[in-house]
């Protein structure tokens, strides 16, 4: 089943740089879809369209359609707050908010007006367990979030996204600032999480896509060159450019 359907999506930024050109894409539910390609290819832009974070950027023109569960995401009358709770994002650098570990995870729920301590406590524990952080941090929930390691911070950011019980989790090069051990932990979490969530990741290298992705989309200069199962892309790429990229000839 397709969770997200992108049809003829084109996006132009105000500075005239065409960031996405005529993208057609169907992202299946409960799978990990990886967006690969050299930087500047439009992967981040696509992610930021899906939860309308692009509203904050200087976008001059958006055409085409993006449907999540059949609902038009680009509809100007859409409740973007509800959309952002449904489509969570983890950024490339660990970006804990300047609050405690606990407050980082409870932040999103508190925005919704949740004040009951027991509800917040449970949600924080649940999210931290999902990100496999609970055992490490349960004794120090009220320490500042920047007092933990970079790898822990990034998993905290994942927990923060999970706290809102989204349906889709997007990760924009989530391990680019992390060591291999922390990276492996995140990857293990993601494989676990896809049972309950739809995961879209822009991995920071092709190998990562190979390790965890079910579907792979190859982006080059704002165009979607190829999109199919990970196995297809890595063993029998149809496009010469895809082959060159994954074999490391450029990128």
């Amino acid at each position: 089943m397709d969770k997200i359907i992108v049809e003829n999506l084109s996006i132009t930024y105000s500075d005239g740089v065409e960031s996405l050109f005529d993208i057609n894409l169907r992202i299946p539910i409960n799978q990990i879809t990886a967006l690969i390609g050299p930087s500047g290819g439009g992967k981040s832009t696509l992610l930021r369209v899906l939860n309308r974070l692009n509203d904050l950027a200087d976008v001059s023109k958006t055409t085409g359609k993006v449907l999540i569960d059949g609902i038009d995401v680009l509809d100007p009358t859409l409740d973007v707050i509800a959309l952002r709770r449904k489509v969570g994002i983890v950024f490339s650098r660990p970006l804990p908010l300047p609050l405690s570990i606990y407050q980082n995870v409870s932040y999103g729920l508190e925005l919704m007006g949740e004040k009951r301590k027991i509800v917040l406590d449970n949600a924080v524990e649940r999210a931290l367990r999902l990100a496999e952080l609970w055992d490490e941090l349960k004794e120090r929930l009220h320490d500042p979030a920047n007092s933990i390691s970079g790898g822990q911070q990034q998993r905290l950011c994942l927990a923060r996204t999970l706290s809102l019980q989204p349906e889709i989790i997007m990760l924009d090069e989530p391990t680019s600032a992390l060591d291999p051990v922390s990276t492996a932990k995140i990857e293990t979490s993601l494989i676990e999480l896809k049972k309950d969530f739809t995961v879209i990741i822009a991995p920071h290298n092709t190998q990562q896509a190979g390790r965890i992705a079910d579907q792979v989309a190859f982006f080059l200069q704002g165009k979607l060159i190829e999109f199919s199962s990970a196995e297809e892309i890595f063993t029998r790429p149809k496009d010469k450019k895809t082959q060159d990229y994954i074999s490391g000839k450029f990128g």
Binding site: I81, I89, F91, R93, P98, S100, G108, A145, C157
Partner: protein
Amino acid sequence: MQQTAKKSNVVKQLRIEKLGFSLLTILSIATVIPIIAVVIYIIYLGAPAISWEFVSAMPSDGMRAGGIWPAIVGTFYLTIGTAIFSVPLGIAAAIYLSEYAPVNKVTQAIRLAIINLAGIPSVVYGLFGLGLFVIFLNFGTSILSASLTLSIMTLPVIISTTEEALRAVPQSFRVVSVSLGATKWQTIWRLVLPQAIPGILTGVVLGLERAAGETAPILFTGAAFFLPRLPNSPLDATMALPYHLFVISTQVPGMPIQIQYGTVLVLLVFVLIMNIIVTVIRSRARAKRQW
């Protein structure tokens, strides 16, 4: 041969660096010396005047004796009045300019106006206040008129330092907050403002200290030459420390010098207390800050 030449060159570089640092140290000490000298001078001449009577009694004998209580109270009222008008308005304006205002001709003009306001001589504010608040709005020569005038003078300082403090909060925090479903206002209220509070307080105290020490803006708008009673409403005129100082230094013959310097000392302590209060609040806010 070449080696030794190189070495002596490095030695020379190090010597120049050392000389440079010593010079900088001397210069930075030199900037503090006048301040210390002024303070010592004021304490030396003013301390003999300080007594319980001086800070708690009404002036008597044409201000040549007695205390300066009404002037202390007046300056206190004026500072509070200025804070009431300028702090909320200044912070609100800064939030608008930093977080909401689009970049266009109008907001550029607003910014330019604020910068220019900060450069206007204080006596011009005084005349403006006389025209607008005292005469046109008919508030009379009063604490209200003087506070409003001082507020207009203080606003640019508060606006620009607050805006600076808000801008110093990393953009990435805002993006994260919005991505978690926060509205713009929630992001500002829960995340940006708490981070900016220490910087905002600095601006507020800088502005209010200036207001407490100014004479010209209150000269025509609210300050009384001699009023040996406390004001009992915001529409009363009041004595104030800086204006009182001006009066006893230039308008009253046969004024004992220690009363002048005692008044200066009280004004200095008044500003110092404001500084201490804000420093304590600021360091508390910083300690609470998790970043």
